[in-house]
């Protein structure tokens, strides 16, 4: 069945038409796509290269003359030193490049997991009501009452030492995603689904009573069919908007978790570079912070702006314009 509206445009086409009008939003969408491209190419380059990765070696180790095992400000002497070198003499450019991949894994997987949990629980809770609703509400009220710091730190420790780390080692993708990274994704997924769940639950409760859902029920459609074909598409704008918010939360949380020593450890990430900057700044080495903090800022800004524009263009109440 097609979703053609009366004016011959689907709701998505309609939303895109509205989105396109905001030139800044389109610009930031392009910025986001460039970051995504960078992340994919970082993964691709490393797959081709294999370890030891260049980003882990100092410039001196690679035999690039004129560079010692200390920090260098940005220079044009060698492409790896364009953005300077870290306190240990490693290329800031390459580490930021790899950090983009880490940020995307954290952002998409973390926000994806959180969306999956939030939507599933929200849908069932709102649609079925009764004891399912009571249980879901209980779970998120309890989770929200635990101090966030305790929750993330305890979860991070738990995942690191407990049976989850053993399960992780047997996963097919454990070679591509370090334990620290996996850890962050799980922690973010487990802690940040509450907002979306609440929103979806409230919206489903509303949608459930609308005529078209009652019509579907009168036609004898099964619950799963009504839920996935008729209710889900009507709350999906919440998912998209919330995904962009959680994406930013995730890459920002990576910085804090890594600073606290329970985040990314086996590979360079923006969080690690920012955490390292604590000692580097006092020695006057500001370029690693500028590169990593700047990259994070640009990506977060792009996602935040696009998210705002999506919220406006996906809002079904704004049909004009």
């Amino acid at each position: 069945m097609s979703h053609q509206g009366a004016r011959g445009r689907s709701p998505l086409q309609e939303a895109w038409r509205r989105f396109r009008k905001d030139r800044t939003a389109v610009f930031f969408l392009v910025v986001f796509c460039l970051f995504a491209l960078t992340a994919v190419s970082a993964q691709f380059v490393e797959l081709l290269q294999g370890s030891p990765f260049t980003y882990e070696m100092t410039l001196a180790e690679q035999g690039i003359s004129a560079f010692e095992e200390t920090s260098h400000p940005p220079s044009t002497a060698h492409w790896q030193a364009w953005w300077g070198t870290t306190a240990a003499g490693k290329s800031v450019l390459l580490r930021t490049f790899h950090g983009t991949k880490v940020a995307f894994v954290v952002g998409t997987c973390g926000a994806g997991l959180s969306a999956l949990i939030g939507v599933t629980l929200g849908l069932f809770s709102g649609f079925l009501g009764g004891w399912v609703d009571a249980v879901v509400q209980y779970i998120y009220s309890t989770l929200a009452s635990i101090p966030y710091l305790l929750l993330i730190l305890a979860l991070a420790f738990l995942i690191r030492q407990g049976p989850i780390s053993a399960a992780y080692n047997s996963l097919a993708f454990s070679e591509y995603m370090s334990l620290g990274l996996f850890n962050i994704v799980l922690v973010i997924g487990a802690t940040s689904w509450v907002t979306l769940c609440r929103l979806v639950r409230a919206e489903v409760k509303k949608v459930r009573e609308l005529e078209y859902v009652q019509a579907a029920r009168a036609l004898g459609f099964s619950n799963p069919r009504i839920l996935f074909r008729h209710v889900l598409p009507n709350v999906f704008h919440l998912v998209i908007i919330n995904f962009s918010l959680t994406f930013v939360t995730a890459i920002k949380s990576e910085v804090i978790l890594t600073f606290l020593g329970v985040g990314v450890d086996k590979e360079p990430s923006w969080g690690q570079m920012i955490a390292d900057a604590k000692s580097e700044l006092m020695r006057g080495i500001w370029w690693p912070l500028l590169a990593s903090g700047g990259a994070l800022f640009l990506l977060a800004l792009a996602v935040n702006y696009v998210g705002d524009a999506l919220r406006d263009s996906l809002d079904p109440r704004l049909k004009d314009g």
Partner: protein, 309 residues
């Protein structure tokens, strides 16, 4: 109202029971072995056994849970495992520094954000509005660690305007707190402006504003006499919900600026598996969270006559 309060209070009980259970479980499975931490390296087996009995760790988990609940009800959390100070004393020592950072920062930050939001809502659609909206979105896109690092480096290390690290009890605290307060405001103002601007705009588009305008009232009068009053409800609720977090404190700020508050205390307790402190602080946080959420709902009903509990 009374019915509502009773219902909410009854509902809070299973939530708090759940929080207590999760805290205990997370800690028993995730934390390091407290006995090993307390006794250091190479303790004798007899010592280990004696300490396990003393701490109640030889008991089954269910019994530990019951014991934990007893502690919560009697507010008697025992002493810290790391230095044997009573938990109560640790709390009273930390709450002063935490509040002296969080209260002024939160109050000033909220006032600033509300003022900016009303102003921007007044000049909605103008260049000022556009710049502020962009500035707010840029502000929330910066990592909080970057704010702290750059602020500390630039204002304290380079320009020597503030001390980098430390704390002093009494009036001298302001000398150490000024910089963290400034950074806190910078950190929060973006999110707050975005929220309050939405609130103000929603209010401005309502019917009573149109009525007031058609009655011939000036924009200024509409904004401050009518709109601000109606915005009070979401403003008060948002601020009420934030209070528990002001008491438990910002651990990042406290760690970075060496403020001996509750946030940094909890952080140290978690990393050193100091279970009595963690249990007490977690329950405190949870109770405050639940309590202030109920209070927010009550205030909502008090200030907005359309809402009945």
């Amino acid at each position: 109202m009374i019915n509502f309060l009773i219902r909410r209070a009854l509902y809070a009980i299973p939530v708090l029971l759940g929080v207590a259970l999760i805290t205990l479980l997370l800690f028993n499975v995730a934390g390091g072995d407290p006995v090993a931490i307390k006794l250091g390296k190479n303790p004798s087996p007899a010592e280990v056994e004696a300490l396990r009995m003393e701490l109640g760790l030889d008991q089954p988990l269910l019994w530990q849970y019951v014991d934990f609940l007893r502690q919560v009800v009697t507010l008697e959390f025992g002493t810290s495992w790391t230095d044997n100070t009573p938990v109560r004393e640790i709390f009273w020592r930390g709450v002063g520094p935490t509040l002296s950072l969080s209260l002024p920062a939160f109050t000033l930050g909220s006032l600033l954000a509300i003022t900016i939001s009303l102003l921007v809502a007044f000049y909605r659609g103008s260049v000022l509005d556009r710049i502020t909206t962009l500035g707010a979105i840029a502000g929330i896109s910066v990592s909080s660690l970057v704010y702290i690092l750059v602020g500390q480096w630039l204002l304290a290390d380079q320009w020597k305007l503030f001390p980098i690290w430390g704390y002093e009890y009494g009036a001298g605290a302001i000398y150490f707190l000024a910089l963290p307060i400034i950074i806190w405001i910078l950190l929060s103002v973006g999110t707050d402006v975005r929220y309050y601007r939405t609130v103000a705009l929603e209010e401005i588009n309502r019917d009573y504003v149109r009525t007031a305008r058609s009655k011939g009232l000036g924009e200024q009068q509409i904004l401050f006499r009518h709109v601000l009053r109606n915005c009070a409800v979401p403003i008060i609720t948002r601020m009420t919900i934030a209070i528990p977090f002001l008491i438990t404190g910002s651990f990042l700020m406290e760690i970075f600026f060496g403020i001996p508050g509750l946030g940094s205390t909890l952080y140290t307790a978690i990393t050193s598996s100091d279970l009595p402190v963690v249990k007490a602080f977690t329950m405190l946080g949870a109770v405050l969270y639940v309590l202030f959420n109920i209070l927010a709902d009550v205030l909502y009903a008090v200030f907005d006559p359309r809402i009945r509990l």
